[in-house]
C-alpha cells in the first residue's frame, strides 16, 4: 500500500482486513479527531442563542433517527414510511413512565440514561414486530406495513386517555452530578449528552457495518437469493434490520422527549416520517456520512423556509398559510429532485470532490 492514500492511483489492499478498517490513513484519523474536538469545544468560544442551540440539538437528534432509517432503507433496502412512529414509540416510553410515576419521579429525572436505553429497546421490539411481514414479503408490501403502523400509532396516541389524547405530556428536568440542570443550561447540557450518545452510536454502527451482521444487510439488499445461497436468512435479516432501526429511533425519541421536556403527537406524524425519508435521501441512502449531512441540510432548509415564509407573510397579507404550504412543497421538491438528478445524495458530492483532488491534475 502506498504511503499516502491521497496521492495513490489505486487502492493496494492485500487483505480484506485492510479494506475494512475504519480509518485508512492517519490523516483520516486526525481529521476525525479534530472534527470531534471542534464539536465538543466550540460552545466554549461562541455564545449561541437558545433558539439556535435548540436547532442544533434537533439536528443531532434527527441524525440519530436518520442513522436508523438509513440502516433499514439505505443498507437493507426496505422502505419505511413509519419512522416517525418508531421515534414516537421511544418518546412515549419515557412519557408513559412520567405519566405513571409522575413527571418528577427519580427514575425519570435521575436515571435518564436508563430511560433512554429502555426507550431504545421498546423501539427495537416494535420495529421487529412491524418488520415481521418481511419474513414473507418484499419491499413494496413492507412500505405499506410501515405506513399502516404509522396510522395505528397516531390513532392509539390520539384516542387513548393514557397518552393524554396527543396533548403534551410533560417530562421533568433531569439531574446531573452537579444537581438539577437549570433552564439556562438545559440546551447546552443536552447538546453534550446527545453528542456523546451520537458518537457512541455512530462508531457502533460503523463497526456493525464491518461485521458479518452489518454486511449481511447489504448482501440481502443487493440480491436476496444470492444471500440466501450464501447461508444468510434474508427474512430474519430484514426483521433484524427493522429492530436495529427501531432501537436507534427509540433512542432519538427519548432524547427528543427530554430535550423538549414533553411529548406531543405533532412531532411524530406522517409528515415527520416523510421528513426523515427526505433527510436520508438528501444525505445519501446507504452511506453513513449521508446520515449526518442529510439532517443538517434539511434542518437548515427548514430554517430558511421558515424565514422566507415569515418574510413573505409580513409583506403579503393575503397568504396566511404560506408556512404550512412551503414546508411540504420544498421537502417534496427536494426529495423528487434528488432522486431524479442525484440519487446518491450529498455524500456523493464529497466522493466526487475527493476523487477530483486525488486525480488532479491528471483527471480524466
Amino acid at each position: 500500500m502506498s504511503s499516502n492514500r491521497w496521492l495513490a492511483t489505486g487502492n493496494y489492499f492485500t487483505s480484506y482486513k485492510e479494506e475494512q478498517r475504519i480509518f485508512f490513513t492517519s490523516l483520516d484519523k486526525t481529521a476525525m479527531c479534530l472534527l470531534l474536538l471542534c464539536l465538543f469545544a466550540w460552545p466554549f468560544f461562541f455564545d449561541l442563542d437558545n433558539k439556535y442551540m435548540l436547532v442544533i440539538d434537533n439536528i443531532l437528534v434527527a441524525v440519530i433517527a436518520v442513522i436508523g432509517l438509513n440502516l433499514v432503507t439505505g443498507f437493507a433496502g426496505l422502505i419505511s414510511i413509519g419512522h416517525a412512529a418508531f421515534v414516537g414509540i421511544g418518546a412515549y416510553t419515557v412519557a408513559s413512565f412520567a405519566r405513571v410515576l409522575g413527571d418528577n419521579h427519580v427514575l425519570v429525572t435521575h436515571a435518564w440514561p436508563l430511560m433512554i436505553l429502555l426507550a431504545g429497546c421498546s423501539g427495537a421490539i416494535f420495529g421487529a414486530i412491524v418488520g415481521l411481514p418481511a419474513l414473507r414479503l418484499k419491499h413494496l408490501y413492507l412500505a405499506i406495513a410501515t405506513l399502516s403502523f404509522q396510522m395505528i400509532f397516531q390513532w392509539t396516541i390520539n384516542f387513548m386517555n393514557f397518552f393524554n389524547q396527543g396533548q403534551t405530556i410533560s417530562v421533568g428536568r433531569v439531574y446531573w452530578l452537579t444537581g438539577e440542570v437549570s433552564r439556562s443550561k438545559h440546551y447546552m447540557f443536552w447538546y453534550y449528552a446527545i453528542l456523546v450518545i451520537l458518537v457512541i452510536l455512530g462508531f457502533a454502527v460503523r463497526n456493525l457495518l464491518r461485521t458479518r451482521y452489518g454486511r449481511c444487510l447489504v448482501a440481502v439488499r443487493d440480491n436476496d437469493r444470492a444471500a440466501d445461497a450464501m447461508g444468510m436468512h434474508p427474512g430474519f435479516t430484514k426483521v433484524y434490520a427493522f429492530g436495529l432501526a427501531g432501537f436507534l429511533a427509540g433512542v432519538a425519541g427519548a432524547l427528543h422527549a427530554y430535550l423538549y421536556r414533553g411529548v406531543g403527537i405533532e412531532s411524530f406524524t406522517l409528515q415527520q416520517s416523510i421528513n426523515y425519508l427526505a433527510m436520508a435521501i438528501v444525505g445519501g441512502l446507504g452511506t453513513l456520512p449521508g446520515s449526518f449531512l442529510g439532517p443538517l441540510a434539511i434542518k437548515v432548509l427548514d430554517l430558511q423556509v421558515g424565514n422566507v415564509s415569515e418574510w413573505v407573510g409580513a409583506h403579503l397579507t393575503f397568504t396566511t398559510n404560506l408556512a404550512t404550504a412551503l414546508r411540504p412543497l420544498s421537502f417534496g421538491l427536494v426529495i423528487v429532485l434528488f432522486l431524479m438528478f442525484e440519487p446518491r445524495g450529498i455524500a456523493n458530492w464529497w466522493r466526487i470532490l475527493r476523487s477530483y483532488v486525488k486525480l488532479w491534475p491528471f483527471r480524466y
Binding site: 419491499h139 408490501y141 390513532w155 384516542f159 437469493r225 414546508r327
Partner: protein, 297 residues
C-alpha cells in the same frame, strides 16, 4: 335491526367510494408496478377542481364533473410524463419514494390555495329529504354517488375487456416485453394508466366532496385508506378493489357503529382497516383476488 341495515347501507355507500379510489390505484400498479402513494392528493385535486368549476365559474355540477375529470386526466398524465417517465428502469424503491415526494409537493400546492385549510361544501342540487324505506334511509347524494360509482366501475370493466386501448393495457401488465414486440408503446400505456387513474380519482373525490363536504384532511385520508382496500383485494385485481372496497366500508361502519363508546374505544372506524391490513400482510399477503406471484425469500 334497522340500525344494522342502516350501517349496511352507509357501509356500501362509503365502500363504493373506496372501490372507486382503489380502482385508480390498482390501474397504476397493474400496468407499471408503481405504488402510487400520492393517490389521495390526486383525489383531493380532482374534488377541488370540480368545486372551483361549480362554484367559482358557475357551471352546473353535472357538466363540471366531466370537465374536472378531463382536467385531472391530463394532470395525472403530465405527472407521469414529468416525474415518472425518466425513472423507468430505476429500482422500484426510488420510484416509490418519488411518489412520496409527489405527495408532499401536491400537499404544498394545495395548501397554497384556500382549499388546504378551509372547509367547503357543494351547493345542493338534489332533493334534501332522504329516501326512507323501513327505517333505513339514504340521502339522494349518496344514492347518486353510488350509481355514478357503479356506472364508472362497469364502464372501466367494459373498457378493459373490449376496447383496444384497454386490451393493450392488460397486455402490458401481463408481459411488457411481449407487449412491446407486438407494437404496443409501453410508456404511452403507463401514461394512460396514470390518466385513467386520475379520471377515476376525480370522480371519487367529487362524490366524496358532495357527500361529506370538502375538507383536505378527509380527502387526504381517503388516499391512505386505499392501501388496506387494495391489499385486501389483491394489489393487481380490479374486481378485488371493488369487492374489498365494499367490505372495508362495511367493516368501518360496523366498527364505528358497534365498538365506539363501548370499552372506552373511540374512532375505531379509522384504525380498523390498518389493523386488518397488518393481519392480511402476515397471513394472506396476496389478498382475496391477487395473483400468487409473491416471491418468498
Amino acid at each position: 335491526m334497522s340500525y344494522f341495515f342502516q350501517l349496511v347501507v352507509s357501509g356500501i355507500v362509503v365502500g363504493s367510494i373506496y372501490a372507486l379510489s382503489g380502482l385508480g390505484f390498482v390501474l397504476i400498479y397493474k400496468s407499471s408496478r408503481v405504488l402510487n402513494i400520492a393517490h389521495g392528493q390526486i383525489i383531493a385535486a380532482g374534488a377541488f377542481i370540480t368545486y372551483a368549476l361549480t362554484v367559482w365559474v358557475h357551471i352546473p355540477v353535472y357538466i363540471s364533473l366531466p370537465i374536472s375529470m378531463v382536467i385531472t386526466f391530463f394532470l395525472a398524465m403530465s405527472v407521469e410524463r414529468v416525474f415518472l417517465r425518466r425513472l423507468i428502469g430505476e429500482p422500484i424503491i426510488s420510484v416509490i419514494m418519488v411518489t412520496i415526494g409527489l405527495m408532499s409537493i401536491i400537499d404544498g400546492l394545495i395548501y397554497l390555495t384556500p382549499f388546504g385549510t378551509e372547509n367547503f361544501s357543494f351547493p345542493p342540487f338534489l332533493p334534501k329529504a332522504p329516501i326512507a324505506f323501513g327505517g333505513v334511509s339514504i340521502s339522494w347524494t349518496q344514492l347518486v354517488g353510488v350509481i355514478i360509482t357503479f356506472t364508472m366501475i362497469g364502464g372501466f370493466s367494459w373498457f378493459f375487456k373490449k376496447s383496444t386501448v384497454g386490451i393493450s393495457m392488460r397486455a402490458v401488465s401481463d408481459d411488457q416485453m411481449a407487449a412491446m414486440s407486438i407494437g404496443i408503446s409501453v410508456p404511452r400505456v403507463f401514461g394512460l394508466a396514470w390518466a385513467t387513474a386520475g379520471l377515476s380519482a376525480a370522480a371519487a373525490g367529487s362524490i366524496i366532496g358532495n357527500i361529506t363536504g370538502l375538507n383536505f384532511d378527509t380527502l387526504h385520508a381517503f388516499g391512505i385508506i386505499v392501501f388496506p382496500v387494495v391489499i385486501l383485494g389483491g394489489l393487481d385485481s380490479i374486481l378485488g378493489a371493488v369487492v374489498a372496497g365494499i367490505i372495508m366500508g362495511l367493516i368501518q361502519q360496523f366498527a364505528s357503529g358497534y365498538l365506539d363508546g363501548n370499552w372506552g374505544l373511540n374512532g375505531t372506524g379509522e384504525v380498523m382497516p390498518y389493523i386488518i391490513l397488518l393481519v392480511i400482510l402476515l397471513f394472506k399477503p396476496h389478498g382475496l383476488f391477487g395473483i400468487h406471484e409473491i416471491e418468498r425469500v
